[in-house]
Structures are given as C-alpha cells and as structure tokens.
C-alpha cells in the first residue's frame, strides 16, 4: 500500500465521514467533563460512567426491545453513578481523584461481573440481541456529492453529540444554572456571598457530566458496535479529561481538542493499511494529548511572563513621572 494511496484515502469522503463518527464517543465525555470542570468538580470517573452507559443501554435494549427506553435507561445509569461520586466527594469529603478512581474500578469490574452473571459471558455481549440506534439519513443532503455522506447517514448519536455542544454552550452562558456553575468554579467565595448554593450547583454539574458520559458509552455499544465489550471505553474517558484540560473551559476549544484526538484515532485506523505497525499508529492520539498539554503549559508560562514585562515597563514610566 503506497503513501499515495493512503493520502488519497485521507482526503476521501469516506475518511472524513469516519472521522465524524469516531469523534462522537470522545465528544460526549469531553462535554460532560467540561460541565463538571467548569463548576470546579472535575469528574475523574468519566471512563467508568461510559462503561455503565454502554452496558445499561445494551442490556435494556435486549430485554425490552425498545431502543429509546434503553437510551433513557443508560442516561439514568450515568446520572446515578455520577451522583455516587458526587456524594462521596461533596458530602463525605472524599478526594475527588480517589473517589473517581474507585468509581472507575467499580465500573470496569462491575460491568464484567454483571455481564457474566446475566449472560455467562466475560468478553462481550455478542450473544445478546441488543439493538442499535438508527442512522439518520437527511433527504436531499445525502445526495450531495462529496459532502453528502459526511453530513448525513450517521447514527443518531453523532448528531446528538454535535448538537450537545450547542446545548452546553447555551447552558453555560445563557442559563442561570450554567452561569452559576461557572461562577462557583471560578470563585466559590464570591458566589456564596451572592446567595448561590455552591454544593447544589456542583451536584447538578456532576449529574450532567454523568448524563453525557453515558451517552458517550452508548454511542460505542449501540452505534459503533452493537454490543458491549469489556473495557470498551478504551481510554476515551481519559482523553475527554485531557480535552477539557486543553479546552480552557470553553465549549468550542474543547470540541476542537476532542476532534483532534478523534482525528488522530481515525488516522490510526486509516494508516493501518500502510506498513506502519498499527500499535504505533494507535498511539498517535495519546502522544498528541501529551504534546498538547506540554505546548499548552509552555504557552501559559509565556503569557504570564509577558504580562509581567509589559506592566513593568509601563509602570516604570508611570512611576517615574509620578516621582516628578
């Protein structure tokens, strides 16, 4: 397989469409993580909550035959697990990181445990007739050459993912709740003096993050694949946290960070046909995260130093003229 072939593949409609799809399970935990982080309670258990969402969706859809009920159940599961984390941290003073770790442990172990108990399998639920969400074909748009398949024909979760970016934007900047969340995250003391109940806001933020993480999980088990697999989140929850890190607590930059990682992921798949070993290529998203963090930190430093220099010279003049 030549480089030329691969390059042409990258610029193909098929590839770009796959990028959009692959970004979906990264965008969801990123958005969830964003809300929690904005309120000052970053959620370390996104990975685990994704697993519970994926798991619940599959099993409820298999047992009830109703895919939408399953989605609802999955979201509920996500919210409940997030609230468990919230209670441990906010009510009982558990360290946020450790409590998140505990929840992750509970999730990776618990999902496999339940899977085995319910259907006797440990690897995946392929024996189960679970459902997946429909793809959305937008009439007219679908038939546009080149752009058509990129914009249309994706599972419904993909559209929800991109829509949720807008929803979160509205939440954070145009609703009282969202504004209070951001205030609490930035200066809880100030928020308290104005009558905002810091803990209440943080509970809600965590619940919302659980909701979105669960959707992310379901986009894996009810769209990408049609089953639940052990550890199927494969680190996307952590990548979501990294995306939030890089996104400076704003929806669009976080989306961009998530899409960069998604792109790296899709690229990894595409390059698999080249002679580059798949594992190295699969490392691209993770290496990207590290580089991104490093660059970001350097940037921050530089900005701070420049600010100090700028004011130093400005004030020298001011001080000098004052002294006269």
């Amino acid at each position: 397989m030549t480089l030329d072939f691969v390059l042409r593949g990258i610029f193909s409609t098929f590839f770009l469409a796959s990028v959009i799809r692959i970004c979906t399970p990264i965008i969801f935990p990123s958005m969830g993580g964003l809300v929690a982080a904005a309120a000052g309670v970053s959620n370390m258990a996104l990975e685990g909550i994704m697993l519970w969402g994926a798991f619940t969706g599959v099993f409820v859809s298999a047992y009830t035959g109703n895919v939408w009920l399953a989605v609802l159940a999955g979201c509920l599961a996500g919210i409940l697990v997030a609230l468990l984390l919230a209670v441990a941290h906010l009510q009982f003073g558990s360290d946020r990181f450790l409590a998140g770790l505990a929840v992750n442990l509970f999730s990776s172990g618990g999902t496999v445990f339940l899977m085995y108990s319910l259907i006797g399998e440990k690897g995946n639920t392929s024996t189960l007739a679970s459902l997946s969400v429909p793809n959305v074909v937008i009439p007219f748009i679908h038939d546009i050459p080149v752009l058509g398949p990129i914009l249309s024909g994706h599972p419904v979760f993909t559209y929800i993912a991109f829509f949720s970016v807008w929803v979160i934007y509205i939440l954070m900047y145009r609703t009282r709740l969202g504004v209070h969340m951001r205030a609490v995250g930035e200066n809880p003391a100030a928020a308290t003096t104005l009558g905002i109940n810091v803990h209440r806001v943080q509970y809600i933020a965590l619940a919302i993050s659980g909701f979105f993480a669960a959707l992310g999980g379901m986009s894996l088990s009810m769209a990408y694949l049609q089953m639940f697999q052990r550890e199927m989140a494969a680190g996307r929850g952590w990548i979501g946290i990294a995306a939030v890190n890089l996104g400076a607590l704003r929806p669009i930059p976080t989306l961009i960070a998530a899409m960069v990682f998604g792109f790296a992921d899709a690229l990894a798949n595409q390059l698999g046909s080249l002679n580059i070993p798949s594992q190295l290529v699969q490392s691209i998203p993770y290496a990207t995260t590290v580089i991104g963090l490093a660059v970001y930190s350097i940037q921050q430093r530089r900005v701070a130093i420049e600010r100090q220099k700028k004011y130093a010279s400005a004030h020298y003049e001011e001080a000098a003229s004052e002294a006269e």
Binding site: A183, A190, G195, I196, A319
Partner: protein, 514 residues
C-alpha cells in the same frame, strides 16, 4: 436616631485573639463616615460583623432602631447593607454586566438570561450614580478602578442603602481615587450612607464627615473630621503603647553586612510594589522597617530571601548579589529568614517538630552521614532546641499542628536562630501569638543582635519596631521615606507621619544615615 448602631460589640476568636473589644460604633444616615486604624486594629472585623460575614461574640446591632441579627451576608443585603471588599469578589472571566447581576440574573420569557437587560441595568445604574463602567468588558482585563466601581454597582443593584468600603483606595492611582470620591459624593446626594475603612489620613480629611479611630480592638473615639488635624488622627491611631520594656544593651555596631541598592519589584498583575529601595544593614544592630502593611514589606522580604525574583536592583551580602538566587544558596550565605506567614512557609504542620527543625540542615553532619540520616542525632538536635527555646511540647516527634501558635513560631525562631546566621530577616515575628512567646522571641532577637547578628525587622506593630530597633526606616508605597538613626529618639507621632506618607525625607538626608 442613628441609622446604624453597633453596641458593645466584642469578637473573640477561638485562638484567643480579641479582635473587637466592647466597641460602640454608630453611623448617621447620609454621612460619609471614615473608620481608621492600623492593621490589627479591628476595623475590618467590625465591618465583617456588620455585613454578616462574622458573628459577634457579644453585643447588638440596630438598624433604624430595630435590632437585627445577621446569619450571613444575605441577611445584611436584605437590610440594604452592601460591602465592597478589599479583595474583590468578582468572577474574572465574566463581563462587568454579568458580575453585577450574578445571583439574580434578569430572565427572558424563555427562561434564558436576558443579556440585553443586564447591560441596560448596568448602564442605568452607571449613569445614575456617575460610576463609569463598560458593561461588556471582561473583568479580567479592566483596571482596578473600574473593578471597584463594578463592586459598588453590584451592591446598588441589590438596592443597598448603606455601603461599606474596605480600603477602597489601597490599589487606586490618584486619579482613580479622585473619581471614586466624586462617585461617593454622588451616592450620598442620592441618599446613600457610606462607611469608609482606610488608613490614608489625607483622604479622611478630604472626604469624610466624621471619623472613628480604633486601636488594638478598642474604640478610641469618634470626631467630626473638620475638628481634627491629620496629625491628631495619627496620634489617636498609633498611640502611646509601651508593650514590654526590653532593655537593650548598648549597640555595638560593626561592619556592613548587607547592602540593598535600587531594589525594584513589579508584581505579576503589573503593580509596582517596590520602587527603588535602598538601605544598609550592619552587624550588631536591629534595623526596623516600619510601615503599614501593603506598602511592599512582604515583597521586600520575599525578594531578599529568594522566594520571589526581583525585577531590578541588587542586594549584596559578602560582596555577592543574592537577588534571584535559590533559597538554598541564600541560606548557605548565612541569611536566615523568619517568614511572616508561618503556616504557609515557616512550617509543615503535619510533619513532626523535629523534622521541621532541620529543613535547612538535614543534609549536613551530624544529621546526615553519607547515605543515611542519623535520626538519633535529629532527636538530640530537636530536644536541645526544644529545651533551649522553651518550646512547650512533651515530645519532639509530635506534629507541629499540636502546638499553639506561639510555640509554632518558637519552632521557626529556634531553627532560624540556631543556624548561626550572618543576617537575620525577621518578618512579623510576633504576629498572632501569646504574650509569653512574644516576650521570649523579642528577647532572643535582641540577644542575637547583641552577639553580632545583623537583624532586619519588618513589623506592622510599631511599638515592637520602636522597642527592638536601633535604627528605623519607614516604608511607604514601595519606597523608603525616612531614616531614623536613633530609634530611641523617634516618636510614634513622627514615625506615623512618615509611615502614612504625610512626610518624607529627601534623598540627601537619608544618604547620610543609611
């Protein structure tokens, strides 16, 4: 009937500190009332009680003759009291308008926040009270003067009738201060009442109708501003306090040990905190830096001891510039440091006393021999110091958190003094500790000074500076404003004037005795 009456207010904290001692304070409607006092005088505490942030241990508050009790600042806001804090309570990434309406945002019919209305409200209030702000500007990027106006409008949005302002001009330029005063006059014209906490006497004279002076938690008196001079106010503030008579052996000054030349420091937020500080420090003396907190003392110490990097100038010890070196290097040059905030820098509260005592020498013999540390020696070392410095603890292995404030400070002092220093920087060494420990630490400082150590004493407690120092310099707004070569000849009143920027020596005068 006065609008506000605070009767017999006392506030005693858990650690025994008496912040307010049976204070009676009243404010008339429509007046601008200045509340002055040095740091630790209790004025901030009194106002925090009025605003509901703190609860009084004793006493009552009456608004318009009606007794009230505030469980939180929300209750105070209900009574139309608003407070503009010294540390602004703003959300940096929000706009001016967003900050003003925070907590009570106007809504559209679809339950989303009505941004247009927020901006309108801001503009209306801004115009009515002559407080110039840019509604869409992000608070992070606006200057301090505007931030303060935002805080004021925030309170006005909540219909405050009484505005408490805590050191509002501390961070303003002269022009901004003028703008603020105009705004205050406008507020009063509209029927508001303003309480103005400050230590800047020029401003007290310029703007207030009445002034109340507090000192050491007690109320000294309330007078009509027009009836007093600044000097008189300064006298009431600083007062005649002979705390403890330390008998100092006669000074035996030796050679120069530290030279500070043109030291400048600009903070990360862009404020010029030190604007060219010059002084010399000699062996065998205590040089006291007198000044109201916030004039650069903290940064001066941090820069000399390597905790922060200076932006200009030199500090020479042993002919070498110690600026911008690591704390380890500076300590190796025998410069010891008693930090002003013992909990942040001076100790690690969860670590044991003995381990706290060795942070500057754990790698030296006999505590450390080759690969391993000798904890028996560490034990011996700490037991010796505990005994020598009378640190009240049954066991050196207990965590520092088990000690009282005074004993914690003794741990710091013990460590720093026992390092055989060439120069000792002592910053607020007796702040927040009991009388016994205070007395002891002061005695130790004098002892080491007499033995030849060069001691730089930075303290907001003027009487401490006066009784311990051989020479005194006053620091005001990042510059040395006066040098007093014989501390015993200086008076509180005179020092007060220099500390508060009312008087300043010329460079030539100071050169002679620096």
């Amino acid at each position: 009937m006065p609008l506000i009456e605070m009767k017999n207010i006392s506030k005693i904290y858990d650690n025994g500190v008496v912040a307010n001692d049976h204070v009676n304070f009243s404010v008339e409607k429509g007046e601008i009332h200045a509340l002055v006092g040095e740091n630790g005088a209790g004025k901030s505490t009194l106002m925090k009680i009025l605003y509901g942030i703190e609860q009084p241990t004793e006493g009552q508050i009456l608004i318009n003759g009606k007794e009230v009790s505030f469980r939180s600042s929300l209750d105070a806001i209900d009574e139309k009291i608003g407070m503009v804090h010294q540390n602004f309570m703003l959300i940096p990434s929000f706009s001016v308008a967003d900050n003003i309406v925070l907590g009570n945002e106007p809504l559209q019919t679809n339950k989303l926040i009505d941004k247009k209305r927020s901006v309108e409200i801001t503009e209306e209030l801004s115009k009515t009270y002559g407080l110039n702000v840019i509604p869409e500007a992000i608070v992070d990027s606006i200057n301090v003067g505007m931030r303060q106006r935002v805080e004021i409008i925030k309170m006005l949005y909540r219909e405050a009738e009484i505005l408490i302002m805590d050191e509002p001009t501390a961070v303003l330029t002269p022009q901004e201060t003028q703008d603020l005063f105009n705004a205050i006059h406008k507020l009063v014209e509209q029927g508001k009442t303003v309480i103005f906490i400050t230590h800047k006497l020029r401003e007290v004279k310029e703007i207030s109708d009445r002034v109340t002076v507090m000192r050491l938690g007690k109320m000294i008196g309330t007078v009509d501003t027009k009836d007093v001079t600044r000097e008189q106010i300064a006298n009431m503030m600083v007062g005649r306090e002979v705390f403890l008579d330390i008998t100092k052996p006669k000074i035996n000054r030796g050679q120069k040990r530290m030279t500070v030349k043109d030291l400048t420091y600009v903070s990360e937020t862009g404020t010029p905190v030190l604007r060219g500080v010059n002084f010399n420090l000699y062996s065998g003396e205590v040089l006291g830096i007198a000044g109201v907190e916030g004039n650069g003392q903290t940064e001066l110490v941090e820069v000399i001891t390597g905790l922060k990097s200076a932006t200009g100038g030199e500090v020479l010890v042993h002919e070498k510039n110690i600026l911008n070196r690591t704390p380890r290097e500076i300590r190796m040059m025998k410069v010891a440091h008693i930090p002003e905030d013992r909990l942040t820098n001076g100790v690690a509260v969860n670590a044991s006393i003995e381990e706290n005592l060795i942070v500057d020498r754990y790698f030296k013999k006999p505590l450390n021999k080759g690969l391993l540390m000798d904890y028996k020696e560490v034990n011996k070392h700490s037991d010796a110091l505990i005994k020598q410095f009378s640190i009240k603890t049954p066991d050196g292995k207990l965590p520092v958190s088990s000690l009282s404030g005074g004993n914690m400070q003794k741990v710091v002092v013990a460590r720093e003094l026992s390092s055989d220093p060439y120069v000792l920087i002592a910053s607020q060494p007796t702040r927040g500790i009991d009388v016994g420990a205070t007395e002891y630490i002061r005695e130790q400082l004098v002892k080491y000074r007499t033995d030849g150590v060069a001691v730089l004493l930075v303290s907001a407690d003027l009487s401490e500076v006066m009784s311990l120092s051989d020479r005194i310099v006053t620091l005001y707004e990042g510059k040395i404003t006066g040098v007093f070569p014989d501390a015993s000849k200086a008076t509180e009143e005179e020092l007060g004037l220099y500390m508060l920027g009312l008087k300043e020596q010329t460079a030539e005068e100071m050169e002679k005795v620096l």
